[in-house]
Symmetry: D2
Subunit: 365 residues, 4 copies
C-alpha cells in the first residue's frame, strides 16, 4: 500500500522503469483549473536526464499522455490520469541485477519484500525515473497554487563541500524563485554553482558519485495551515519528501542548528507590520505547532550520493548464496541533486495545495 | 483532522492541558496481548516532569485510567481508550495568554487556525502534556514488539555543544538499549551526561532554555518492512516524529553527512554472515528504498529549545493590535530533550508495529 | 480497524457495555460551533431504554462527560472526547454467555475474530449500548447542519405487518420532521403507531421479538453533494447505516420498487420552479450518479428482530463442543426500532456534515 | 475524492467514456500471484455490450493493456495499472447533452458538482462503461481468492415481475456458481430466464427500459472476517455495491423480510457438524455483528431501470433556463442487470480479498 497518498488531492503512482509505462492518477482536483501543457513539459524537462554532461547520457523521454480528467483544456474534477511511456530501456544493461544486489540500492530490501517477484530491471518500481510523475503532480499543483499567489521555489544548497548561499528566511522576491526554474543548475550564486559542477564532473571521472542538499521555500502561504499532531505541516511535508528516492535528511528553518541554540536565540519575536503579523527572525521556518504563521516556509532536504557507481563493490549473489564483487556498467548520474530540485518543489506544491483545500466552515454562530 | 493516524494500528489523540482530561484511543490492536500496567506506568514516569531539578517543578500526574479494550489483563482487540485526567492546572498562570502571543509557540498560528476559539490555557491542545498519550501508545506497542524480539531504544545525542557518543550503527546489545530506560538521564557516556545537565541548569539560571537531539535505534526488525514511495519507513517514521512538539530536524543513518560524501564512501557493502545478510557499514541506517534490509534502523531527531522562557520577549497583543513585551511567569522546563526520549521511542514503536502487522499472502501459486 | 470512520469529520468509537465507560472522539469539527448540551441530552434520551413498557426495563444511563474539544460552550476545533460511563451492568446476567453462543448475535463470529479474548459480558463491544455514541455524534452534527438550514428527520416505517404512511418524497415541512423528535413513538399516523405498539407488547408476552424499518429524510441539502464511484452519497450513507447493529437492508427512494419498474415510470422529470430546479417525482430519493440534485434525500433502513429472546433456542457450547439449548434470562427489548430512530438520524447527520465540509476551490481561472 | 477506495487493496479508477482511455490502478496486491489474462478477458466480455440483442448495439471494446505491476506473468506487488482505451465513441450522438439534462441521469447533479466543467459526452465519468475497471479488479481478486477456495457467484434475481428461484442460503455447489459465469443470461431457472428476456425485448420495442435485481453468494469465507461498527462486512460491501451506477437497494440474507419477522423465526440456531459450526437456517446471510460466521454470505442488489430511454421526456435546458422536452436518440440498453452480474461479483471479490489480507498477529502471549 505505497502507491496512494493524500487527503483531498490523492495521488496514485505506478510503473516500473522497464514496463510499458509509468504514470499517475490525481484524484480530487477542483474542476475548471486551466491545464497549461507547456508549463508541465518545461517542469518535466528540468528533471529529465541527458540535458547536459552532468547527468546521465540516457535519453529518457518524459513525454506524457493525458488519459482523463481534462476536457477542453481544463480539469473536469474527475480523476486525471497521465501516462509516461517507457522507451529507451536497454534491458541488456540490467540482466546481471537479478541476483547481484547493488549496494546502496533497494535491490536486497525489495527482493525480500516482494519475495523475488519484483521487476528488477533498471530498478523497476524503485527507479529514479519514478520521480517523473511527482514532477507532473507538482506542475499541476503549482498552477492551482498560482491562483492564490503561492509560489514554491528551490535551489541546490550544497554539493559535497561547496555550499550555495541560503535563501533569506524572511522572504525572497517571487521573481527570484521563478528565475531559478529557468536555470539548468539552480543556484543563487553562479560562482559556487560552477564549483559544484566541477566537483560533479570530477566524481564522474573517478567513476564515483557525490551527494548534496536542496533548500526549498514556499512563499505567501496563509497563516493557519496545518494541524497539531498528526497532520502538522512538517509531518505532511516530511512524509512526501522522504518518499523521494535518496532523501535521508530533512530540517525545517534552523533545523539541527536549533539543537545547539537557546530559546532566547531561537524564538522569533512577533510584530505588526501595518495590519500584517510578521516575525523579526524566522528560525522556525514559518511553522509553529505544526501550523503556518504566515512567514515563508523554509526547509532543507539532504540527498545521499547516487548509489550507482562504476567502481567495483563488494556484495552478495542471492542465487548462489556467495559473497562477490560487482561492477555496474552503464550510464550513471554522478549526482542527482540538480535533477531533484523540481521533485522537491513538486511534492511540496502538492502537499500545500492538498492542505489548503480542506475546508473549515464559518466559525460564527 | 489531526487527531487520528495509523494504518492497522490507528491512534486517536485528544485533550487540552486544562480540560477535564487528555487521552487516546488505540484501534486495531491484536486480541490477547497481555497488558503490563506497571510497565506502562514506568514508561509514563520517564516522561513526567517534577522528577528532578532539570525539569519543571509542576507536579503533573500522568495517572491513566483504561476505559475499554482490556479484559482480564489482555487486549480484547476492540478499541482501547485510556484517559489521563488533568489535575495540577494553575489556570491563573495563563490568563495573560489569551491575547499575548508567545514567541516560538503555536499561540498565533493556532489562534488563526481555530479562529480564536481554541483553549489557550497552558497551550491547550498544543501543550507538551499531549506527549503523554504518545508514550502510552508506545508502551503498549513495545509490549507487542517484544514478542518479535524487536527492541526500540534511544539516548540523548546532544544538549547544546555537549555531545554523547553515538550508537554503533552495526548494532548494540539489547541490554544496552533496555538499560537506558532505567536512567533518569539517558546517555551512553555519563561524564558527558553530567556536562549536559550542568548546561541545562545554567540555562535555567539565565531564565533561558536550550535545545538538543536524540538518537534512536530499532533492533531486530525483519528485512522487507516498508514500501517504496508513499509509505516508506522513513516517511512513516518522519510523519509521527515531526508530530512531536518541538521537533525540527530528522536524519536517517549518515543523514546530512551523506550530502558531503561520495557513493564509494556511503554505500554499504553486503556480505553473508552464515545464512544472514549483513552490511559492512550501516550508513543507510537499515533502510534502503524505503524498506528495511535487516540492519539496525538508526536515526536522529532534532529538538528546538523550549520556547517558554522567562526572559522578556517582544511580541504582539492581538486584541489591542499592538506590539508589546511579554514575560512568561511560571515554571518552565529549561530543556525537554531528556523527557522526549520515551516519546521518540514510543512513536517509533507504534509505527514499527503498525507496519509489521500488514499482511502479505503467500507468494506461491 | 473498525472504530474509526469519516473523511473530514472522523469519529472514533470505543467501549464495552461492561467496561468502565463507552464513548467517542470527534475529530475535525469546525471551531466556534456552539454546543447545546441540553439538545444532546434530549437526543440521547430518545435512544435510552427504560422510558416506557415497550423497551427494556434496564436503567441505562446515557449521561455523558465531555473531556475535551469544548471551551466556553463552543467547539475549539480540536478533538472532542465524550465519555458515557457504564453503571447498571448486572454482570451476573451474562456469565453463561462465555461459552454458549446466542443465535442471531455476534457471539460466535466475535469469538472467532477475537480469538476468545473479547469481553463477552452483555455483548461487550457489540452491545446495542454502543449506539449511544452514534446519537451523540448525530446531535453535534445536527447543530452544525442547522446553520445551513439542513434538517434530518425519521419515523418508524413499519413494525411487523403494520405500516405507517410514508413521507412525501417531494418534501415535508421541517416542522413535521422536528415534531417527530418530540414523540416517544415516532410515527406520522398515531393510529398505526398504536397498532405497532400493541404488536410489540404482544411479542414481549410471547417472549419473542419483532422487526421493523425506519424511513429517513434529509431536507435542504444543496445539489452537488457526493461523488461518483467510491464516495457516492449512497455509499457513504450505506457505510454508516450498515454499521448500526441489526441493520440488514437499505433502499434509496423507490429502492427495490425500481426493480419492477420501467424507465418511463421511474425517471424523475426536471423543471424550473422560478430559479430553482425541481423534479416532478422523486423516485431517485434526491440522489443521482451518487450526487444530490437538491430534492429531499429519502431512504428506508430495515432492522431485524432483536436477537435476544427468552424462548429456548438451540445452539452450541464452544467449551464443551456440544449442541445445547439456551434460555436467555434477563430484560430484553422486544423491538429496537423505536430506539433506533435517533441513531439513523444521527449517522445520517454526521455523514451529510462530513460531505458538506469538503471544499472545492473556485472554479474560475 | 471519489476515485480511490480500499484498505489493503486500494483501487483507483479513472476515465471518461469519450476521453483517451478509462482504467484503474490496483495497489497492495500480494507479489507472485499468477495473472491469467484469458480469465480476465472472459470476465470483461461478460460485461461488454453488443453480445446479443438484449444489450446495446454499440461495439465497445474492453480490450485492456497492462502498464505495470505484472512481470513474467505474476504480480510484482507494486501498483498494477490497466488501461482500457476508448474507441467507438460517436461523439455526435451526445452534443445535445451539454445543456439538456437527461432525467434519471447524473447530468444535472454532475453539472452542479463540477461547475459545468465535466466532460458530458456519453455521460463522461458517469458512463456505465466505467464498470469495466470494476470487472477487471474483480477478475484479479477472484484469482487471488481461488487460492483460498473462496468462490463468488451471482445470478439475476428478477427482471420486472419475473423472478428466478433463489440460491439455497445454506449453500450451493461451487460448480453451480462457476457455471453461471458461462451463461450469457445468468439465471438458475432457464425458463424464467427466457421470460425475462422477452420482457426486456418488449421494453426495447416500447423505447423504454426495465429494472431488476441480482442475488450474490460468497462461498467458503472463513468465520471472523469483518469488524463491528465501521468496517462491518455489510458496510464494506454496501460501500462498493452502491458505487455501481444504478444500484438503489441492498439487503443481506432475509433483508427487508426481517422487518416483518420475529426473533424466533429469524434467529439462526447453531449446531456442530462434526468439527464445523453451522446454522440450521441462514437468514442472517452469513454475517453477524458485521463479522462472518462461516455460513455462505448472501445478499441482493436492486437496480433501477436504465435511465436512457428513447421516449420523449420532460426536462430542463440549463443554458436557456427553460423547461423543454428531450428525446435521446441513440442505442440504449433496455436492461443493464444481465451486464451487471460480473460487476457485482467483481466488487464483492475485491472487498472480500481486501478484508482477508488484513493481518492479526498471534493471540497468545
Amino acid at each position: 500500500m505505497s502507491g496512494v497518498y493524500g487527503r483531498k488531492i490523492k495521488m496514485t503512482i505506478f510503473g516500473e522503469s522497464h514496463g510499458a509505462s509509468i504514470g499517475l492518477v490525481i484524484d480530487g482536483l477542483p474542476p475548471g483549473l486551466g491545464i497549461d501543457i507547456d508549463f508541465i513539459k518545461r517542469e518535466m524537462e528540468r528533471r529529465a536526464p541527458g540535458r547536459n554532461l552532468l547527468s546521465t547520457q540516457r535519453q529518457e523521454k518524459d513525454a506524457f499522455l493525458i488519459q482523463s480528467g481534462v476536457f477542453e483544456g481544463r480539469t473536469t474534477g474527475t480523476p486525471l490520469c497521465a501516462l509516461i511511456p517507457n522507451s529507451d530501456s536497454h534491458s541488456k544493461d540490467y540482466s546481471i541485477l537479478k541476483d547481484n544486489m547493488r549496494p546502496g540500492h533497494a535491490d536486497y530490501s525489495g527482493k525480500i519484500k516482494y519475495k523475488g517477484f519484483n521487476d528488477y530491471r533498471g530498478g523497476g518500481h524503485f527507479s529514479g525515473r519514478l520521480t517523473a510523475p511527482l514532477v507532473f503532480m507538482g506542475a499541476v499543483a503549482k498552477q492551482a497554487l498560482a491562483r492564490y499567489g503561492i509560489v514554491i521555489g528551490a535551489h541546490i544548497n550544497n554539493v559535497g563541500e561547496i555550499f550555495d548561499r541560503k535563501f533569506d528566511p524572511l522572504g525572497e522576491e517571487t521573481e527570484l524563485l521563478m528565475s531559478l526554474r529557468q536555470k539548468e543548475f539552480a543556484v543563487l550564486d553562479d560562482v559556487r554553482g560552477a564549483e559544484m559542477q566541477a566537483l560533479i564532473l570530477e566524481a564522474r571521472e573517478r567513476q564515483d558519485s557525490i551527494g548534496g542538499s536542496i533548500e526549498c521555500m514556499a512563499l505567501n502561504l496563509p497563516a493557519g495551515l496545518g494541524e497539531p499532531f498528526f497532520d502538522s505541516l512538517e509531518s505532511r511535508l516530511a512524509h512526501v519528501l522522504f518518499s523521494i528516492p535518496a532523501v535521508k535528511g530533512l530540517e525545517f528553518g534552523m533545523g539541527f542548528g536549533f539543537c545547539r541554540s537557546t530559546g532566547s536565540q531561537a524564538n522569533d519575536p512577533l510584530y505588526y507590520d501595518g495590519d500584517s503579523v510578521r516575525t523579526e527572525t524566522n528560525n522556525n521556518g514559518g511553522i509553529l505547532g505544526g501550523i503556518t504563521n504566515g512567514m515563508p516556509v523554509v526547509f532543507k532536504v539532504g540527498f545521499k550520493p547516487t548509489p550507482s557507481i562504476s567502481l567495483p563493490q563488494k556484495t552478495i549473489n542471492v542465487s548462489e548464496h556467495t559473497n562477490t564483487v560487482l561492477e555496474i556498467k552503464g550510464r550513471h548520474d554522478p549526482c542527482i541533486v540538480q535533477r531533484a530540485v523540481p521533485v522537491v518543489e513538486g511534492v511540496t506544491a502538492w502537499t500545500v495545495l492538498d492542505m489548503l483545500l480542506t475546508a473549515d466552515i464559518d466559525g460564527e454562530v
